[in-house]
């Protein structure tokens, strides 16, 4: 099929030569890195990865992945308008709004 994403290059890989690239992961997850805790986080991440790496020893040859506990099919909903939202109601605890728009710092494209 047509590849809709950019193929991974070295810069996309979350693993650097020193181990897991926490900076890259944080960027992907939009979490600011607190420089003081970075190495602690990296260490924790390493030990979690060590835990999950233990999975590799299980033989899964010929086994299909299971994404839901029970087999089922997507249920289909009738195409009807059932919601009549009131923006004021939903925006009561919104951080920044104006004229019922949500506001964020200006994005330059």
């Amino acid at each position: 099929m047509t590849d809709n994403t950019i193929k991974p290059s070295d810069e996309d890989s979350p693993e650097s030569s020193d181990g897991i690239d926490v900076a890259h992961l944080s960027a992907l997850a939009r979490l600011a890195l607190n420089p003081e805790t970075t190495s602690a986080v990296a260490a924790d991440l390493q030990s979690i990865v060590a835990l999950i790496d233990s999975m590799q020893s299980v033989d899964t040859q010929g086994i299909e992945p299971l994404s839901h506990p029970f087999d089922g099919s997507a249920r289909l909903r009738a195409d009807e308008i059932t919601e009549n939202p009131d923006p004021e109601h939903f925006q009561r605890s919104a951080p920044a709004t104006s004229d019922q728009y949500y506001l964020v710092p200006r994005v330059v494209e």
Binding site: R30, L31, L51, I52, M55, H68, P69, P95
Partner: protein
Amino acid sequence: MKYVSSLREMSQALADGEVSSAELTQDHLARIKEVDPQLNSFITLTEEEAMAQASAADALRSQGDRRPTLGLPIAHKDIFCTKGILTTAGSKMLGNFVAPYDATVVTKMADAGMVSIGKTNMDEFAMGSSNENSYFGPVANPWDTDRVPGGSSGGSAAAVAGGLVAGATGTDTGGSIRQPAALCGITGLKPTYGRVSRFGMIAFASSLDHAGPMARSAEDAALMLSVMAGFDPRDSTSAKRDDAWLADMLHSGIAEPERPMVIGLPDQYYENSSNQESVTAARQELEKLGHTFKRVSLPHTDAATPVYYVLASAEASTNLSRYDGVRYGHRCENPTSLQDLYERSREEGFGDEVKLRILTGTYTLSVGYFDAYYLKAQKIRRLITQDFDNAFAEVDLLLTPTSPTPAFRKGQLTDDPVAMYQQDLYTVPTSLAGLPAMSLPCGFSQGMPMGMQLIAPAFREDLALGLAAQFQRHTDWHLKRPGEIN
């Protein structure tokens, strides 16, 4: 007057006119205000709303409404959206979030006439096994306030164990109902996946999240389950079921098991001798009642914990992307750009454990790692499910310890996330398989409660509840109360 100890007893007292719902609710609120400073099990107390609901229930009763659930005070884990009421998921990220709608579970229980007293404390976004990860402070175990109540439904467990409320809702993704139930000496049920609607339940890991009841007995848990359960068209993973026993249990209580059960003891759950003895006594009691035991094997049990952490973190990492400071929740001050808004709001809003799991999940879903982690984990998930299917071909139920240890001290495991994850050893496999499982008290170890876990085949909560209720008619572990704070 002092409130009575169980939902069933209160229901009877209300029916007999001995007490009104308003009085019961007042008593609950008074006790909570007196005792909860020691436990910190509640984040929000909804006094006004509760009294209004109680009055409404009393009015309905005076008009002839005889429903057994009418007017019973309960509490909701702060993971369920409650309209017009603060709903925090234990996090600073939602520290100011007033939910604009009700979760289906909340609506169903309100429609059944139950009175919601408040929102209970929990590990942030349901990630944790000790309730030490809450932005609103740790919860104390009523049996020993220096110890943890378990998590993530630590607040609900402590509130029930401490006699602040007779029933509270909880959620269980890797063990978060069962483990705190075991550590606090109460009864907690994780129903079959899809039995209870997830709509309005703040998502942690979508294919693993379950809502369920926490109470002081199987009877009370069954009463709550009968209200909470049911198909919800707003949840695509909700199961359409027609189980007559649910309504039967509500109206007539839990019947005796129809016949003696064959109960499996999975080898892999008994390798650590320290948790065998707590269950041995229970075994003997069950044998006296006519049930028999058989050893079975669930060979892929050891792989369950890493599999769980891969899948749960992956799903969580994307479920939590919506917390971005744009439409609701915490926003950092003076963001200089959209990226800055995201990064600082999320850094400030999330606690350490949440961030760790988001990073783990991001890692396992990354391009190049997906097959080795996510896909691999899903394949093993199928193997784990098959293990249970094979076992249930030979036995009716499985019996295991709920937790490897009784409640540990606060701060004991906070520096070692992997050690903390091992707390869920006996509970995650059933979460992965979506099977119903409950924990009930079965003894004590050095003064702290121990729990045993009953696992049933899919949608056969009745088998587990039936056995548990019978066990509780012949034993009194579940009636013990913490001495310290009584």
